[in-house]
Amino acid sequence: MQREAVISVRGVRNQFGRQVIHDGLDLDIHRGEVLGIVGGSGTGKSVLLRTILGLNKPAEGRIQLFGQMRGEMTSAQERAVERRWGVLFQDGALFSSLTVAQNIQVSLREHLHLPQYLMDEIAAVKIALVGLPPEAGPKYPSELSGGMRKRAGLARALALDPEVVFLDEPTAGLDPIGAAAFDDLIKNLQATLGLTVFMVTHDLDSLYAICDRIAVLAEKRVLVTGTIDELMQHAHPWIKEYFHGPRGRAAVAAKERNAQA
């Protein structure tokens, strides 16, 4: 079945000085899926994310966003594209001088002209959607725990009801209970809001729990994409090591336990 690719990356080459990070990298993100990106340290997962978001200009290659080619868009079209996605940076990247509710309202304020009470109501809905208590609204990011900051960052990413959300290591730095809760949250939001999720992660439990498809970054490109079961069968040594190493086996065991329970 041919699925609609909301974002497609073709032949991207990234290099810093003489160090080549990506060469001939292809990747499709399909509508409505949760795509996990894995790869060893230094394989350029974050660089790929930044390249798609336009924070990093590739040396070569084409990136198609919602059917439009990056580089051929007017700045108005680019802004329109930016309104269709939301990004959760690693530590939330919340604006430290604004409260959580004000952080959520930033893009509402910037892109739309809404009355203040309506923005407050929308912020309240988003805060509840990501599972934060209402008391978190008037707090500043420095007053929140790491897990709450991530949830607040996610609420900000969802402010304009984007079609695609990008998550950069959403469960890094969370305790296992917090990480599992965050996985559930992403899964629920994805089902409720019909999101497409692009997730850079190292967390094997997240991969098992919520990803429909996984792309493995190695050898400067996307080595292989597939469901987790397909990747388990793959013969590439790094992939074997990754999924059949001690942590990989533990995650499989956990999943099987969950399935029986």
Binding site: R83, T99, A101, A124
Partner: protein, 381 residues
């Protein structure tokens, strides 16, 4: 955003009779249209209805903002005593409506603020308390730094020589051009203005005394200290503050390194040494600027100028500045480092602390200068 057929003002089709209401949302109920949809919904009169129905079968897309508006209207109608049913929702729409209904808890977007007059008094109280606390803490910090300084003097091997030399270059050598330029210009301006005023009494030659006494005793060193506070005090705060934010200071402590010894002492020592040096350069440049103006304006030859300088100033005029200078350096360095160590939380805090460091630095320099003036006056120097 996808196109929509509904014009503004027609997001909602309302049909009503005496007791019941049928609301039919039209078009895409998404956040981009939410202000218009909200305005349409405000016109719905909830009073006296027994029942109301939302018919979603003509609705286009629905997002959380749209779902919120439907939920809010339902809530208002229900509070007015109507029974509300929602018909024609697809499964995803119903899921979204449920999720939004669960999230119906009011949130205050800003921390609670009270009456502005009480706030004013409260803020004044806080500011005073804060100022008192800061003063106490700075005195405490000064004690800590001086203690560390004496310990280091007893065991000079512990002094970070490389770091101290680096900061001497940064705060001293690199500041020479700007200090020279500013004091040269101020010296020239002082001589010119002084000569202009004294000419009325036919005493314009005494402009030399003005420049000599002013620059040797006060202005040279004061200008230097103010510039160093702005240049280096702020840099210390920003450097140490960003290290504090990245937990580098904590890392240092866990490894048994004393931040006062490693970070504060080299900076403070470099200023104690470099402020007098810069002050000397400043005094020289000020007198050079003054001399140049007097030569061009009054035709006073350089030889004559120097001769008059000797008459106008004695040894103590110069020495006074060099007694004060190390204390200025000490205070600027202490305050810069102290404010840096007080940074916490966010990047904004670095900015606030840097401002505080410059303001407190300059203020302290002037207070210390005043204390010395009184002291020298009593001593008759």
């Amino acid at each position: 955003m996808s196109d929509h057929t509904a014009e503004s003002g027609t997001w909602l089709d309302v049909s009503e009779d005496a007791s019941s209401l049928l609301l039919r949302p039209l078009g895409d109920w998404v956040v981009t249209h939410s202000a218009d949809i909200d305005a349409d919904l405000q016109t719905v009169d909830a009073y006296g209805r027994h029942s109301a129905t939302f018919d979603l079968s003509h609705l286009g897309r629905l997002d959380t903002a749209g779902a919120w508006l439907i939920h809010r209207t339902r809530r208002t109608l229900e509070r007015a005593g109507a029974s509300v049913t929602i018909a024609g929702a697809t499964v995803p729409q119903a899921t979204l409506l449920n999720a939004v209904a669960r999230g119906d808890k009011p949130v205050f977007p800003e921390p609670h603020v009270g009456n502005i007059f009480t706030n004013l008094v409260v803020r004044m109280g806080h500011a005073l308390e804060e100022a008192g606390k800061t003063t106490r803490e700075i005195v405490g910090f000064m004690g800590l730094v001086l203690e560390t300084l004496f310990k280091t003097m007893l065991n000079p091997k512990r002094l970070r020589v490389t770091s101290t030399a680096y900061h001497m270059e940064q705060t001293g050598l690199n500041a020479v051009p700007i200090v020279c330029m500013i004091t040269f210009l101020i010296g020239a301006v002082m001589a010119y203005q002084g000569a202009e005023q004294l000419r009325r009494f036919g005493a314009e030659v005494f402009a030399v005394n003005l420049v000599a006494a002013g620059f040797l005793r006060e202005i040279g060193i004061l200008l230097t200290a103010i510039m160093v506070a702005g240049r280096s005090g702020s840099a210390f705060t920003a450097q140490i503050g960003s290290m504090k934010l990245r937990e580098e200071i904590d890392a240092m402590r866990t490894m048994g390194l004393d931040p006062v010894e490693v970070l504060v002492l080299p900076r403070v020592i470099s200023l104690i040494i470099m402020v007098p040096v810069l002050g000397f350069i400043a005094a020289m440049m000020g007198m050079l600027g003054g001399g140049l103006v007097l030569w061009l304006e009054l035709g006073m030859s350089p030889g004559m100028y120097i001769e008059r300088l000797y008459e106008a100033a004695d040894f103590w005029d110069g020495a006074v500045a060099f007694v004060k200078a190390p204390f200025f350096g000490l205070m600027i360095g202490l305050i810069g480092c102290f404010e840096g160590l007080k940074v916490e939380g966010s990047a904004e805090s670095v900015g606030q602390r840097t401002t505080a460091s410059v303001v407190e630095g300059i203020f302290t320099v002037i207070v210390v200068d005043a204390i010395f003036s009184i002291l020298f006056l009593k001593l008759g120097i």
